[in-house]
Amino acid sequence: MKELDSIQKRLLMEIADLHGVPEGAFNIRANGESAARASTANIEIVPKAEGKGIDIHIAPNTKNESVHIPVVLTKTGLKEVVYNDFYIGENADVTIVAGCGIDNCGPKDAEHDGIHRFYVGKGAKIRYVEKHYGSGDGSGKRILNPGTEVYMEENSTAEMEMVQIKGVDDTTRTTTAELAAGAKLVVRERLMTHGDQRAISVYVVHLNGEGSSADVVSRSVARDRSFQKFDAKIVGSAPCSGHTECDSIIMDEGRILAVPGLEANHVDAALVHEAAIGKIAGEQLIKLMTLGLTEQEAEEQIINGFLS
């Protein structure tokens, strides 16, 4: 294993709560190359040619195992596109922790575009956690453009938690999913932008099979002059149920655009979209101030709770 420097270790902590080498299967990518990798009896990680990513094979019926594949970037000017493909065997039940941390102290942009494809076998269940984090005071931007494709076979389940709280200047996140009969997709996105940041989140979920369901919920806070766009579309082509929700707090001179999209191609497709954008309610601030908090402390509590 290559030794990580202290900044890389700090980024690993932020995105994957990792203090050292994780248990189970893992691949740690640092500045464009693999720094450490381990497979287990049930989970095999195979590098693609030319360092363009990895294939992760999870054997059928693998239970209670985890895969960590964090990425850290600390070199200004580095741009990379990485393809990671997950093949999840039937009836497996695993947790996958991804995430990317960029520390850019230099003048050039640093960019990581991770394309993750999930092939979720029949009856399999995954919990996927992806955290994005940026730091460093260089003038170069920290850019992340993650692409997630999820192909779900019958009765499979995917719970995805996407978090970006700090420091990423520019991000376009595109998530597409195709669900067969009985498959269930749950997405929880939490986002906070500040400064002049820009974050675009696009979801296109196809409910193709009978009894499939999707629940995509985004909670976000836009501060300073930042801009967010939440563009979520659910296409129901069978008896199915779909729900998307965008719940946002707007502050300062922030801007938020919510674009609801529902397409029903079947009479028994039940699709719902909810969107609410608003500033912090004055009564909420006053209530916490009557408990002795300053206005700023009250605001922090409300935002922390909202994004928890």
Binding site: I286, K287, M289, T290, L291, G292, L293
Partner: protein, 242 residues
């Protein structure tokens, strides 16, 4: 001890000054439970909001234990020892009951301690401590949590704005017990409750009747309550269920 001196509050409605409170003089001594009652629109809630610092009086002074707090904001008044329970409690997405009680206590408290405040208002603490203070809670549940946050503050002056509103009959007796217990342990603090309820008026040391922005009557319970019940004002006092 809280003192309101020549307190007035005017608002501008459609270009006209409207007097909500007019020259209110009120002394709330330590060791006393005071109930402010009167018809709707009489200025009761405004008085409570002015005490908490949410509204600023147009004229007059507010003294807490002799110290002029008229110019202090909501946060400073809270820190000076004033607690305030909202008539319509606020909901928060993502903030748990546990967080709110801890913020109210102003320090780290154990789960057991947090639960004791919830139990005191008749909530099964274990079922509520990790719930979010959001739309999933009923009005009555929220109201009881609101009262629990005031208990957790342990303040010199606690103000409750219509605590019975939205609380079901079964919980109402429990609420009376909460106030009786507070009254027992009152020591150097005082309690102000805004209410129409006869059973709350019944536990008052003193009753203040606020009508049309002015104090109409003020005195010991035994003196004021019979008058209230026998006069026309009785119609304003709710004797039955909430």
């Amino acid at each position: 001890m809280l003192e309101l001196q020549h307190l007035s509050f005017r608002v501008d409605t459609e270009g006209q000054d409207k007097e909500i409170l007019e020259d209110i003089n009120l002394l709330i001594p330590n060791g006393k439970l005071i109930v402010i009652t009167g018809p709707n629109g009489g200025g009761k809630s405004t008085t409570a909001r002015i005490i908490a610092g949410i509204e600023k009086p147009t004229e007059g002074r507010i003294l807490l234990d002799g110290e002029d707090i008229t110019e202090l904001g909501v946060t400073e008044r809270a820190r000076a020892g004033i607690a305030y329970a909202f008539q319509q409690p606020v909901r928060f997405k993502g903030i748990k009951v546990r967080d709110l009680v801890r913020l109210a206590a102003g320090k780290k408290i154990s789960t057991g301690e947090a639960c004791s405040y919830l139990s005191a208002v008749g909530l099964c603490a274990r079922d509520y401590i990790d719930r979010e203070v959001n739309a999933s809670l009923s009005g009555g549940e929220l109201k009881r949590i609101e009262i629990a946050t005031v208990l957790a503050r342990g303040s010199r002056l606690s103000v409750f704005d219509e605590p019975e509103a939205g609380i079901d009959l079964w919980s109402f007796q429990n609420l009376i017990e909460v106030f009786q217990n507070m009254r027992k342990n009152i020591r150097d603090s005082s309690i102000v409750i805004i209410s129409h309820q006869e059973r709350i008026l019944n536990i008052a040391d003193e009753i203040v009747v606020l009508v049309g922005g002015k104090i109409q009557k003020q005195g010991n319970r035994d003196e004021i309550l019979p008058e209230l019940l026998s006069s026309g004002a009785a119609r304003q006092v709710c004797r039955g269920a909430v």
